[in-house]
Amino acid sequence: MAAEVQVFDAVLVVLLLWLGWRALASADLFKAVVQFIVFGLLLSLAWVRLGAPDVALAEAAIGAGLAGALLLDTLARLGRSGAADEARPLGLTPARTGIALAALGLAALLVAAALTLPERWPGLAEPALQQLPASGVSNPVTATLLNYRAWDTLLEIGVLMLAVLGVWILEAEPALPRLAPDPMLGLLLRVLLPLTVIVAGYLLWVGAHAPGGAFQGAALLAAGGVLWHLARPLSLGPSLVLRAIVVLGFAVFLAVGVATAVLGGGLLSFPREHAGAIILVIEAAAMLSIALIMVALFVGRVRAPSETGAAEAEAAPAASNPGAAP
């Protein structure tokens, strides 16, 4: 790949910095979120330019797609009053001057550190590529995620599980007013959903030797799930089946780790001849779990119509006594 700086890179970096700043400083939060989504899309171009297509795939689906959907959904739920902010949300005040100076100081330290780094550096590329034949896959990023640093990925899936548990623990929210079913969205869903499933399966399989893998496949599946929810609202409460799928990825990963520890080799060190198959099993389970967790994070816990009356009756005494809040 070209390591030369081209005009394209300069334009991309300027656009990224400008959009990043507008995403933070726009007084209107809706504009800010839209600029953040565009920022995420351009960021995936930057990943391609830096030779990281695996990261670009995940960023386009998660950073730009899913995060944007989550932010817009929250803005809609906050309503007009909740989405209002100061006229100059990041304008300098005496207190903020200190924060700005601290941020600039940190940036100066980082720039000084970056300028002292050597222009070429072997990093861990050589050991990662040398061990590749023993890892069971030929895509070094997948090998790093699922073999060399499998421990990190196991804990990451644990973090995802905790996040969805946190969302489920919070009190159920009232459902947003339902829009009239849009026939176009339904039609789009009927075309896109099967394609999403096929492409996710492809990404999972191809991740062994080309850019792709469980995360990218899960992100696509999750995007399909979010579309489904928008066309026909899903109810993803913490039912038994859902909880089973949410823990499936973590459970399979952990079971493999325990099995490799008991049968010799050590925790999560896969035997060379079976590594490819083991990685595929873990990735398939993880993809299902991650996709469902992301859709559940978006859907949240929506109050069922039967619950609404009881919850409002509970909320009424609290609302009549606002002075009780500290």
Binding site: L71, A114, A163
Partner: protein, 107 residues
């Protein structure tokens, strides 16, 4: 100026912007946007530094790429939890600002 240095410096600028917004903003959603931009800056620094190996090993260092992939997924799940907490706070207090930020001009 090399590609790694250009994107590395851009990442540093994003880190500074995101840190300032996360600490200075009052609306929690804007603070979360700040944290996300801060995270994107860190990811950009990592991927930029990984691209320095291309002359030696014919491809960028895969280890930081794997870390960034993990980071993107964790960041979006943390954002989703933060947003759920924000909605809960807004439903409870009627304000999208943290209690210590609220004064006479709060929404």
């Amino acid at each position: 100026m090399s590609l790694a240095l250009l994107y590395g410096l851009a990442g540093i600028a994003l880190v500074a912007m995101g840190l300032y917004a996360a600490l200075a903003a009052r609306h929690v959603l804007r603070r979360l946007l700040g944290l996300n931009v801060l995270g994107s800056g860190v990811f950009m620094m990592l991927v930029a530094l990984a691209s320095r190996t291309t002359d030696i090993a014919t491809r960028p260092d895969p280890v930081p790429h794997a870390m960034v992939l993990t980071g993107i997924v964790v960041a979006v799940s943390a954002t989703a939890l933060g947003l759920a907490l924000l909605r809960r706070m807004h439903a409870h207090d009627g304000s999208p600002w943290l209690p210590e930020d609220r004064d006479d001009d709060s929404p």
